[in-house]
Symmetry: C2
Subunit: 417 residues, 2 copies
């Protein structure tokens, strides 16, 4: 079979499974709970498969960060199973009638949420995606074609089998969750070209993967990129909040996509507050790349280059720039933000409103840590990622973001003039 | 300049115009009303430019249908101007806060509509698109790059100039509405490849154009395709409604994308009703391509081929198939529908519900003519087209479909644990 015919056959089988997932709330949840049970039962088998992957990865010279992403120990497996149970407990978005209107001729319109259809998930070393992405797709009534990294092939095989067991035990077709064989990169190309067969592709991984998918896909893409996020500390900021928000936004987990990368200091901010912010970051081990004004306040800061303000550090490093009030902050953010999450710290409501209105990132915050940019923290119960594109969904994408809608039109025999 | 650098420069200028369009409701409406005024003032100039295009088109051998699409006479120009005024009177979608929620830690979330950004419109011979698509983009706060057909180049030049006059007279940047030079097809390729510069491409034209755009685009596409639409007449249909809906759905305007292409007759429908439906269509000059059962009821019907059920006639031709109740209708529609609009005629609510639930087209109707598949008839005041893709917007797309959202998060200093 060619890569195209392989993907065509898999996508058709996935599509054929869709009617069985419609109006099957209890079965979908049951399948996911059964999968969680199987995952726990087969934890040692999964750990052994993962050990094979880890050994092969080490032999191939994968670096420590990649090996860490690949690893599945007992506690990670338990977290995966618990995550599945969380998804199974979420409300089913499918069938929700979320808008009604009528027209003067008596037609009644209703918008109803429906699944997107067949979703292709392309990911790298993290084997946990096999379980969590599949569960989110299933709970939102979608079928999925998963394409994990070859480095996780043994782990993924056990994980897929647990998901398949869950489907079968709940009376749902196993074709609703399928794994595209790893190793043959032409299969990824065929997925990206499968217009009309795959309804949307979701890449989950590093920038290289996302960029390749965006460049090559003929299928719509929901892209989950990382973020160059800003925290602007206005002259009217509360000093204690400024320090706490800067430290938390940058350092709580510096490697997540919601971490702040650049601290913007209002030139009119009291030097005492600016010093306190910078000292708190430096005291916590954060490397500061700052302009001259900021360096004059914190001797541990080093000089920033122009590129630093376009760099996503994902580490205990922060760029620091001094800006002229909220207008200067807006101009800096518009020039450098990746459109993920940007925040202002101020007690002045008008200033906050100006920032919130002008900044067009997926998430714009006032007096809150950028690390709240997360589906769980938004109250969605889970997330498949943060969308930074402009179509369909922006910000954390959870079950609702994996649906679309149809419009029902109810009449009593109306004809159009 | 290369095609890429031309498009890059135009898209950057368009993006630079976006802040001026934000929170400019009155100015946007004023620009569109001024453009309408200029269009009326310059009607004879526009008609003369159009006569040049028509003469060149006739010399090039364009067929009658293409020449009709190209033509702009006084009444069409007045209709365009009136259409602009309709758009200017629509409520501004930008800034609408359409969802609020809070989380237990006191964070307050608000989703606010924002423009999509820079929209590329690629269209063919209809010069009116230059005015109506530009007005819809502008009213929704977007900048646009228009790429019309070379056959309409003289008409489009005058139309663009009217739009530019409107922008300038309202104090808005002319770069908000730009025309990509016609003739050089490489410029279309550069638009389709302009990921990150153009936020969405909207093709408006025949299937060939839409298919090319969908096949080649690296930019997200909102596609407006035609429809293979079905009207299913159930055994429990009211006979008079069945006749009226079949005639209107098929024949009111057979060439629009919401026209019905296939009539499905329930095998249990009374022969008298089935005969009345088919006779009414045949009496009105509709060519019927029917299966044997339907032919036995209407002698003027001819035998349908298998391909007829996958054909979009856009003419006074209907495919007719006999199906086994609503389950048979659902199976036929799932196999043959293009996902645009499908309808059921029945007085049985449970049967209607089964159809409305199972059919996953963008629009699903009960006892209403498929010809209501139109933004104006939906109450949207205008439309840029009917989206049959699954992401972002489905069905008629008007101002709201030309926006996305951002999420504002309001805190009081919350940090993440």
């Amino acid at each position: 079979m060619t890569p195209e015919s392989t993907i065509t056959a898999m996508a058709r089988a996935a599509r054929a499974a869709l009617p069985a997932l419609a109006a099957a709330t209890a079965q979908k949840a049951s399948a996911i709970r059964h999968a969680a049970k199987r995952l726990r039962e087969r934890a040692s088998e999964l750990a052994a498969a993962n050990a094979q992957d880890m050994a092969a990865g080490a032999a191939r010279g994968l670096n420590a960060a990649l090996l860490d992403r690949l690893a599945l120990d007992g506690s990670r497996i338990e977290a995966l199973a618990a995550g599945l149970e969380t998804v199974a407990a979420l409300p089913d978005p499918v069938g929700e009638a979320f808008r009604h209107w009528t027209t003067p001729n008596g037609l009644a319109f209703t918008r109803v949420r429906v699944p997107l259809g067949v979703i292709g998930i392309i990911y790298e070393s993290r084997p946990g995606v096999t379980a969590d992405a599949a569960a989110l797709c299933l709970m939102s009534g979608n079928a999925c074609l998963l394409r994990g990294g070859s480095e996780a092939a043994h782990s993924n095989e056990v994980l897929l089998d647990c998901m398949a067991q869950g489907l079968v035990e709940a009376g749902l077709p196993a074709a609703a969750i399928q794994m595209v064989p790893a190793g043959d990169r032409a299969l990824v190309g065929a997925m990206l070209a499968a217009h009309g067969l795959i309804d949307v592709i979701i890449p989950r991984g590093g920038k290289g993967l996302v960029a390749r998918v965006q460049a090559d896909a003929r299928v719509p893409v929901l892209a989950h990129l990382d973020g160059i996020n800003h925290l602007y500390i206005d002259a009217a900021a509360d000093p204690a909040k400024a320090v706490a928000l800067a430290v938390n936004s940058k350092l709580r987990r510096p490697g997540v996509c919601g971490a702040t990368e650049t601290i913007l200091l209002d030139a009119a901010l009291s030097p005492a507050t600016a010093r306190a912010v910078l000292a708190a970051l430096a005291d916590a081990g954060c490397d500061l790349r700052a302009d001259a004004a900021a360096r004059s306040l914190e001797p541990r800061a080093t000089a920033a280059t122009a590129e630093d303000y376009d760099t996503e550090w994902l580490d205990k490093v922060a760029s620091v720039a001094t800006v002229d009030g909220v207008a200067g902050a807006i101009a800096h953010v518009q020039a450098h933000s990746s459109g993920h999450t940007d925040a202002i710290v101020t007690e002045n409501e008008a200033t906050a409103r100006a920032f919130l209105t002008a900044i067009d990132s997926a998430i714009v915050m006032h007096n809150a840590s950028t690390q709240f940019a997360d589906g769980g923290e938004f109250g969605f119960g889970a997330e498949i990622g943060i969308a930074t594109g402009r179509l369909h969904a922006r910000g954390p994408v959870a079950l609702e973001g994996l649906t679309t809608y149809k419009t029902l039109v109810m009449g009593s025999g109306q004809v159009r003039a």
